[in-house]
C-alpha cells in the first residue's frame, strides 16, 4: 500500500505539488519512490532555471533504472534540496518529507489540471493492472 497525502496535488507522472505562501514545492510520490527501487542519485535542477508544466526538470536514478522528473507546474526554481545530494536514499525513506525543488509559479491556475488525492489513487490503481 502506498501513501497519498490529502493536502497535495499530483501529476500523472507521480510528482506532487504543494502550494504554500505563493510558492510550490515539488517532490515524488510514495508510489514512485517504491517503484524505482533504492535511489542512488537525484539529478537536481539549477536554481534560477525556468521549466514549463510537463517539462523534464531532473531525474531520479536507481541502480538499474532512471526516471525523468516532470515539472507539475510552470515556474522558476528558487531552491533545491541539497540534502538529496548526500543522502538520495531519503526519498525512499519518506517521499513526502523530502521535497526536491521549490518553484516560483507562473500561473496558479495550472494546479487545477493536476489530480486530486483521490483521482491520483485511482490513477495508480489503474497503472498497477
Amino acid at each position: 500500500m502506498h501513501k497519498v497525502l490529502e493536502n497535495l496535488r499530483y501529476s500523472k507522472s507521480h510528482e506532487w505539488a504543494n502550494l504554500k505562501d505563493g510558492t510550490i514545492s515539488v517532490g515524488i510520490s510514495d508510489y514512485a519512490s517504491h517503484h524505482i527501487g533504492d535511489v542512488v542519485f537525484v539529478d537536481l535542477p539549477e536554481v534560477g532555471r525556468h521549466f514549463n508544466q510537463g517539462e523534464v526538470f531532473g531525474a531520479v536514478e536507481s541502480v538499474k533504472a532512471a526516471a525523468d522528473l516532470y515539472s507539475p507546474v510552470s515556474g522558476t526554481v528558487m531552491a533545491v534540496n541539497e540534502v538529496l545530494l548526500d543522502t538520495p536514499e531519503a526519498l525512499n525513506e519518506d517521499a513526502y518529507a523530502n521535497w526536491i525543488m521549490v518553484l516560483k509559479p507562473d500561473n496558479l491556475t495550472e494546479l487545477d489540471i493536476l489530480l486530486s488525492p483521490k483521482a491520483y489513487q485511482d490513477h495508480c490503481a489503474k497503472e498497477q493492472e
Partner: protein, 487 residues
C-alpha cells in the same frame, strides 16, 4: 575459481623494478630541454613491482574470470562463439602487428589487401556494395550509418527529415545513436510476438522520417515475415532502411539484408565473425552501403587500382569517424574466420545456430515461460519461470547458474518481455553441452519451488557473491586513490 583479491598498487615496494631499458648516453638533460614550469611536479601511482609479481598478479586475476573456453556462454544477443586460435596465431605476426598506419601504401599492401578482401566477402554475404571498417563497434557503426542517412537526405536538399523510427524492442544503442547524431527516435510498437506492428508504423510515416533502424530477426529471435512490406513503406515516403547486424548469425549465408530492402547496415565482427569480446572490446562495427551511398562513406576508403591498393577520398564523405582506418587486428581475425568457413560452410552457421536455439526452447518450455510459441531463430527469450509463486526472479536463476559453472544468459533484455531470459547457444555448441545446461536449468526451476532461499541467495561458489550495487552507486569509489573512503 580463485580467491585472490589484491590490487597491483598493494604489491608495490620502493626499490623494485619490472623492466630494464638500454642505457642512453646522449648528452641531453630533460631540465635543460624544457623549462621547469612545463615539467611534472606531482607524484604518480606508478608502482615498483618485479616482473614475476606482475605476471602472477594478472594471472591470478584472470582465474577469477569466466571465458568462452571455460564453459557454455549462452548470452543472448552477444553471439559468444568460440574465438579460433588460428585467428590469434595470424595476428601475432609482426608484419601485421607492427606497421605504422601512415607508412607509404607500397609497404602496406598486405594489410590493405585484408581490408579490401574482407570488404568484398562481407559485401557478397550481405548484398551491400562496399563496407567501411572505421567504426570500432556496433554502436559506432550505427552512428556512422545514421550520419550517412542524414547526409544522403541533405545532398538532395531535403532538410526536414529529423526523425528515425525504432521498434520499442530495440537495443538501447539504437535510440542512443540517433540522439548522438541529432535525430529524434520515434518508438514503434511491437506485436505480442515481438514483430513490428505495421499499423502503428503507418501512423508515423511522413516526409519527416529519415529512415528506420531494424534488426531481423528481432531482439526476441523472431524473423519479421513482413520485412519487405516494412522496408517498402519506408522507401515510399523517401526514407532509408538501416539494418542492425547484431543478429546476423541467424541468417548468415541464407538471406542478404540488401534483399530485405535495407540500404545501410552494420555488422558486429565480434559477434557473427568470431573475433574475441575482450571483456568489452575491442570490437569492430563495419558499415556497408548500397552503391549510390558509397560516396558518403567515411574518408579514406580503400580501393583497388592497377597500381595496387590505394586510399581514396570523396568530397561527399561524412568525414572521419576514426583517426585511422578502424580496428585492423579485429578485421584480420574476421578475414581468417571467413576464409576458414568459405562458401563451403558459411550457410551452415545459421542453420546450426537456429537448430540449437530451438532445441533449447523446446527442452525448457515446461519450466520456463515462453511468451511466443513460434519457432525462434538463433536465440530464444523466456519470460522467467513458469512457476513464480515463491518469488524467484530471472536474476536469481542467473545467479544460481553461476554456481554450476555456466555463464548466465542475457537477463532483462529486451525490455518488452517481463523477467526476460535470453538464451543464444550459437552453432558451435554440441548436443552434450546443451543437454547438461538444460538439465541444470531444470534443476534450478525445481530448487525455486523446493528451496527458494538457496536460489535467492545465489551464487554460493563464486570468487565473490552478490555485490552491493547500491553502495557502489551511492558512494562511488572509482579509483585506488579514494579506496580509503570506504569503511
Amino acid at each position: 575459481m580463485n580467491e585472490y583479491n589484491r590490487l597491483i598498487f598493494e604489491l608495490s615496494k620502493p626499490g623494485r623494478c619490472g623492466v630494464s631499458l638500454p642505457d642512453n648516453d646522449l648528452p641531453y638533460e630533460m631540465d635543460h630541454i624544457l623549462p621547469s614550469n612545463l615539467l611534472r611536479q606531482s607524484n604518480t601511482l606508478l608502482p615498483e613491482v618485479a616482473e614475476l609479481d606482475v605476471v602472477r598478479h594478472y594471472t591470478n586475476l584472470s582465474q577469477k574470470n569466466f571465458g568462452v573456453e571455460s564453459g557454455f556462454y549462452p548470452l543472448g544477443s552477444c553471439t559468444m562463439k568460440y574465438n579460433p586460435k588460428i585467428n590469434e596465431e595470424v595476428v601475432a605476426n609482426k608484419a601485421f602487428q607492427s606497421i605504422h598506419p601512415l607508412v607509404c601504401v607500397e609497404h602496406a599492401q598486405g594489410l590493405m589487401q585484408v581490408y579490401y578482401e574482407t570488404n568484398r566477402m562481407l559485401s557478397s554475404l550481405t548484398g551491400m556494395d562496399e563496407f567501411t571498417f572505421q567504426p570500432f563497434a556496433g554502436a559506432h557503426g550505427e552512428l556512422t550509418g545514421l550520419m550517412i542517412m542524414r547526409d544522403y537526405h541533405h545532398s538532395r536538399n531535403d532538410h526536414k527529415r529529423t526523425k528515425v523510427l525504432v521498434p520499442d524492442s530495440a537495443h538501447g544503442t539504437n535510440p542512443a545513436s540517433a540522439a548522438v547524431v541529432g535525430l529524434e527516435a520515434i518508438d514503434i510498437k511491437s506485436n505480442p510476438d515481438g514483430t513490428v506492428n505495421i499499423d502503428d508504423l503507418k501512423t508515423h510515416l511522413s516526409d519527416e522520417i529519415a529512415g528506420i533502424m531494424l534488426t531481423n530477426p528481432n531482439t526476441l529471435g523472431m524473423f519479421e515475415k513482413d520485412i519487405l512490406v516494412i522496408t517498402k513503406l519506408i522507401h515510399d515516403v523517401g526514407g532509408l532502411c538501416y539494418y542492425d547486424g547484431a543478429n546476423l548469425n541467424a541468417i548468415l549465408g541464407i538471406v542478404r539484408p540488401f534483399d530485405m530492402g535495407f540500404d545501410i547496415m552494420h555488422i558486429n565482427l565480434h559477434k557473427t565473425f568470431s573475433t574475441p569480446h575482450g571483456g568489452g572490446g575491442p570490437g569492430s562495427g563495419p558499415v556497408g552501403v548500397r552503391e549510390d551511398l558509397i560516396p558518403f562513406l567515411p574518408n579514406p576508403r580503400i580501393v583497388r587500382t592497377d597500381q595496387g591498393y590505394r586510399f581514396e577520398e570523396s568530397d561527399l564523405s561524412i568525414g572521419r569517424v576514426a583517426r585511422y582506418y578502424g580496428n585492423f587486428q579485429v578485421v584480420i581475425r574476421a578475414y581468417v574466420y571467413l576464409k576458414t568457413l568459405g562458401k563451403s560452410h558459411v550457410s551452415d552457421v545459421a542453420r546450426y545456430a537456429v537448430l540449437n536455439a530451438n532445441y533449447i526452447k523446446e527442452s525448457l518450455k515446461k519450466e520456463y515461460l515462453l511468451p511466443i510459441e513460434n519457432a525462434c531463430k538463433h536465440e530464444v527469450v523466456f519470460s522467467g519461470l513458469v512457476d513464480k509463486t515463491t518469488g524467484v526472479t530471472t536474476l536469481d536463476v542467473a545467479k544460481r547458474l553461476l554456481d554450476f559453472g555456466y555463464h548466465p544468459p542475457t537477463i532483462y533484455f529486451p525490455l518488452i518481455i517481463k523477467e526476460a531470459l535470453m538464451i543464444e547457444p550459437t552453432e558451435m555448441e554440441s548436443l552434450e553441452t546443451m543437454d547438461s545446461f538444460i538439465s541444470i536449468m531444470k534443476q534450478i526451476a525445481q530448487e525455486a519451488i523446493s528451496n527458494p532461499e538457496l536460489v535467492k541467495t545465489a551464487p554460493h561458489h563464486t570468487p565473490v557473491r552478490r555485490i552491493d550495487e547500491v553502495l557502489a552507486a551511492r558512494k562511488p569509489i572509482l579509483r585506488y586513490q579514494d579506496h580509503s573512503k570506504h569503511d
